[in-house]
């Protein structure tokens, strides 16, 4: 318990005697002597941060976070609150996984490398593309990386990246930052029920365009019906087709490789993480053609000196620690441990569980929409399309007031128009649906 009641770090094991002997060994009279900081920039103030016992610290955080309301979240949009099996917590928390560094010494990191290799393989199956990296930060940054990839691999002098008009602000803004240092500019194409307006897109897409980005499902929960057409349009114009999606959607919806997608991005942490205030896992997959332009880490199979299969980080010459300013990305620390959790969750579900989870995202959304549609003062779904997990409701009363009232009753929903709300069923426990419908009935009166 060195230090846990003392004033030093509770995680430094030195006894006074040891410290003295160490100072003697280095020939210093005190630890202060070891610092070579000019007086002028020495800090002799205080931070004013009190030390606390472990128990007190836990209580402090619990107290602070206890101020969050306990709401049933019907918010979706890449963060679904799917139940994460306890298995994932217990195994990912094994300290060998949790506390190890990036696998630059593969001989003592085989377990993590294999887990990441399996994660990559999961994405290869889901996307149909040949290459998936170990992770980007989240969907927004993965989209940014897709744009810079497009700039690198496209021979054209083009500079436009086309994104849907409804693109989430966080993604759009991040993308703008990622392309700020390039010649690229972000342009918008219109949508219809959140689906791509193909006619409009065809007009907008030209030789200036290096990438078209679409999402499936769309931000309104509709299933995109024009993927193949987008793929063809992009291919004709020699633009990359980047598709935004996630592992659960991919379990059921059209396979990106089958619709001509060149890059797939999104938040893979829909599996593996609870809603975590936006913390995510950037999914990034692409075709073999662009392998040497991929950002981020890649795990590859190899052999060790005894010719046994072994895994290692590979193609590292793409990366910043070797290529510096000519690297494919500046990413270093990534989301490896989240990728581990996602792989574990997917493995727990298995293909039948993943397909089932996705299909229930369709049927449960249908069921809820039908129940809301039955209420006087509400129409759902607004869009005459197939939906996955989320859909829009039209309400007679002003939407913001209804959302406020719902929140008071313990439910969080999106306002997407003066008289439009958006709700998501994924991750919402079955037994919270009835209370939600009841609350909805009350508040729209």
């Amino acid at each position: 318990m060195h230090g846990s009641d003392a004033t030093g770090s509770p995680y430094a094991p030195h006894t006074d005697d040891e410290r003295a002997r160490m100072l003697e060994a280095v020939g210093a009279g005190s630890v202060d002597d070891l610092f070579d900081i000019p007086d002028a920039v020495e800090f002799d103030g205080e931070f004013g941060i009190d030390a606390r016992s472990e128990r007190e610290t836990r209580r402090l955080v619990r107290t602070i976070l206890g101020r969050n309301d306990d709401l049933t979240e019907l918010l979706g949009r890449g963060h679904y609150g799917y139940y994460v099996p306890s298995l994932v917590d217990h195994l990912a928390d094994r300290s060998e996984f949790l506390t190890s560094y990036t696998q630059y010494q593969p001989e003592i990191s085989q377990g993590f490398l294999q887990a990441l290799f399996e994660y990559q393989s999961l994405l290869v199956e889901l996307t149909g593309l040949e290459v998936a990296n170990c992770s980007m930060y989240d969907a927004a940054t993965a989209l940014g990386e897709a744009a810079t990839l497009a700039e690198r691999v496209r021979d054209t002098s083009g500079h436009r990246v086309l994104v849907p008009d409804l693109l989430l602000e966080g993604r759009r803004s991040t993308l703008e930052n990622y392309v700020a240092g390039t010649d690229l500019a972000v342009d918008t194409y219109p949508t219809d029920d959140a689906n791509v307006d193909l006619a409009a897109l065809e007009e907008l897409i030209d030789e200036e365009c290096v990438m078209v980005y679409a999402e499936n499902p769309t931000v309104r929960g509709t299933i995109e019906e024009g993927l193949e057409s987008i793929g063809e349009l992009a291919a004709e114009r020699d633009a990359l087709f980047a598709l935004g999606t996630d592992p659960v959607a991919l379990s059921l919806l059209q396979r990106p490789a089958d619709v001509g997608a060149d890059v797939v991005v999104g938040d893979a942490s829909v599996l593996g993480l609870p809603t975590s205030y936006g913390m995510g896992l950037g999914l990034f997959a692409t075709t073999e053609d662009y392998l040497r332009q991929v950002p981020g880490r890649l795990v590859g199979a190899s052999e060790d000196a005894t010719d046994r299969r072994a895994f290692t980080l590979t193609l590292q010459t793409r990366e910043q620690h070797i290529r510096r300013e000519r690297a494919t990305s500046n990413i270093c620390t990534n989301q490896a441990w989240v990728a581990l959790r996602t792989a574990m969750h997917a493995a727990y579900l298995g293909p039948s569980g993943m397909v089932d989870l996705a299909e229930r995202g369709v049927t449960r959304a249908e069921d809820l929409a039908e129940r809301l549609d039955d209420l006087v003062g509400a129409t759902a779904p607004v869009h005459d399309r197939h939906h996955l997990r989320e859909f829009v409701i039209r309400v007679d009363q002003p939407a913001p007031a209804i959302a406020d009232d719902l929140e008071k009753r313990g439910f969080a929903v999106h306002v997407v128009g003066d008289h439009e709300l958006q709700v998501c069923v994924a991750g919402v426990p079955d037994e919270r649906i009835d209370p939600f419908v009841a609350a909805f009935r009350e508040v729209i009166r």
């Binding site: 770090s9 070579d36 049927t363």
Partner: protein
């Protein structure tokens, strides 16, 4: 020892929709894939798979982990408990009034970090150190643009800097001007003078630098940079050397990032997630990413918190607010240690580096170093030295970098190692120092996998079990 791939244990193909004949799909066939083929395993099988994989990994609880510039500290177990609190699991699109706890924690962490770094304003959004650098670069660009200095197109980076500095500046669209070191291993003031110009947007510095040396001329450097209208960026990777003894803000830095997964002991997770909050001086605060957190002033007795967009914000560099769960752990660590604990951590980190260096036979050319030192493997190949150290049951240092030291062994023991462990680590260094090249090249011999062929892995990349299978088919 060998653990099969999940795909070698099972592959189950699930047909979807009409294709499967059960017609159970709720969607028309043209909107769905045909099938999904993945391993279908039971919970006990998965528990064993991942338990076995974990046994093939060296973590911080396995032994010393003296990777230079990586600050591999012990990760306090209790920080996992606070991050796992159900109240921490909230959706990012929640209304501000319903996540007052989350906003308060972020506000307090912004405040803590500001005090520790001597910075006026902090954003928690960057999800990693490199993302923090990128924010710094973007903030600098926006600032210069706002000042009518949009022509500035150069960022100066010392040769010995972390690779991310170069890459982040390049991602921001800057030309990178590489700065040589002086004989002492520090910034060469003459070279700096030569590099600085009216085109200088920023100088990125680590202090202490990657040799562990404090840039003694930091005040002069700051003045020089500021004189040409440039900004001074602090790379926080080495902040663990200075806690409570010096603050970047006091040295003249305008913008900095913090690596909470280094300095504040959040776990490295096999590569991530980390978090790279960015602090700036007042003048740059209007350019920080949106949104930030502030008190809303609604109530004196019980403060409330709200999000706001800085006036000239650069926008966002992450879809939401970064790696929230990591931030919770960092907050808990800082709240646990307090002033004295943080200062003690740096003191012992520096003591440990000096003690370890004094015990090893390899030469350490540059000093006085602080929390890390760079030894030279001399005639030996540093990478081979590292492989051989694995055989002695310890993790080796970072190797072959910074290049200013030939065959570099960049070593950072951190404060969490005691004398006994440092002695054991030194013994491993010294045992290897006495061995011949043949032994080193044959290493490691006692690890799960023997030396792995990196060249063939890169020459014919096999990046998925599908690739391995199709390769098998070809044979």
């Amino acid at each position: 020892q060998y653990e099969p791939l999940l795909s070698e244990k099972d592959q189950t193909r699930v047909e979807i929709g009409g294709n499967g004949g059960d017609g159970g799909s709720p969607l028309p066939d043209d909107l769905t894939r045909d099938s999904l083929e993945l391993p279908e395993l039971s919970e006990p099988e998965l528990a064993r798979h991942y338990t076995r994989l974990s046994q093939m990994i060296y973590g911080i609880d396995s032994g010393p982990y003296p990777l230079g510039s990586c600050t591999m500290k012990y990760n306090p177990k209790f920080t996992e408990d606070v991050a796992a609190l159900p109240s921490a699991a909230v959706h990012p699109d929640r209304s501000e009034r319903s996540v007052q706890g989350t906003l308060e924690l972020m506000y307090r962490l912004q405040d803590y970090l500001g005090r520790i770094g001597g910075m006026d304003a902090v954003t928690l959004q960057p999800p990693a150190g490199a993302a923090g650098e990128f924010v710094g670069i973007r903030v600098a660009a926006a600032y210069h643009e706002h000042e009518g200095e949009g022509h500035r197109d150069e960022v100066i980076v010392p040769e010995s800097a972390h690779g991310t500095n170069f890459a982040s500046a390049a991602l921001g669209g800057y030309d990178v001007v590489s700065l040589p070191s002086d004989e002492g291993g520090r910034v060469d003031l003459e070279a700096l003078e030569a590099a600085l110009s009216e085109n200088t947007a920023a100088l990125m510095l680590t202090n202490p630098n990657t040799l562990g040396l404090f840039e003694r001329d930091i005040e002069e450097i700051a003045e020089m940079v500021h004189d040409v209208g440039g900004l001074l960026y602090y790379d926080g990777a080495n902040l663990n050397a200075l806690l409570g003894r010096a603050r970047p803000g006091d040295m003249g830095f305008d913008v900095m990032h913090y690596n909470v997964h280094k300095t504040f002991a959040t776990p490295h997770g096999g590569g991530g997630p980390g978090a790279g909050p960015v602090g700036v001086v007042d003048e740059l605060a209007p350019f920080l990413p949106a949104p930030r957190v502030r008190e809303n002033g609604a109530s004196k007795s019980e403060p409330g918190y709200e999000l706001f967009d800085p006036e000239h914000t650069i926008g966002k560099v992450h879809g939401y607010q970064g790696n929230w769960l990591v931030l919770v752990k960092a907050f808990a660590y800082i709240a646990r240690l307090g002033d004295e604990g943080l200062a003690d951590a740096s003191a012992k980190a520096v003591l440990n580096a000096n003690y370890l260096a004094s015990r090893i036979e390899y030469e350490v050319p540059y000093e006085p170093f602080h929390h890390e030192f760079v030894a030279s493997a001399g005639e030996q190949d540093a990478a081979d030295v590292a492989k051989r150290m694995l055989d002695y049951g310890v993790h080796p240092p970072t190797t072959k970098w910074p290049e200013i030291v030939p065959e570099a062994l960049m070593t950072e023991p951190t404060e969490v190692e005691g004398k006994d462990t440092l002695d054991r680590l030194a013994a491993a260094f010294n045992a290897v120092a006495d061995e011949d090249d043949e032994t080193l090249e044959a290493a490691p011999e006692r690890t799960t996998a023997r030396r792995i062929d990196q060249t063939s892995a890169a020459r014919s990349p096999r990046l998925s079990w599908q690739a391995l299978e199709s390769e098998g088919d070809d044979e």
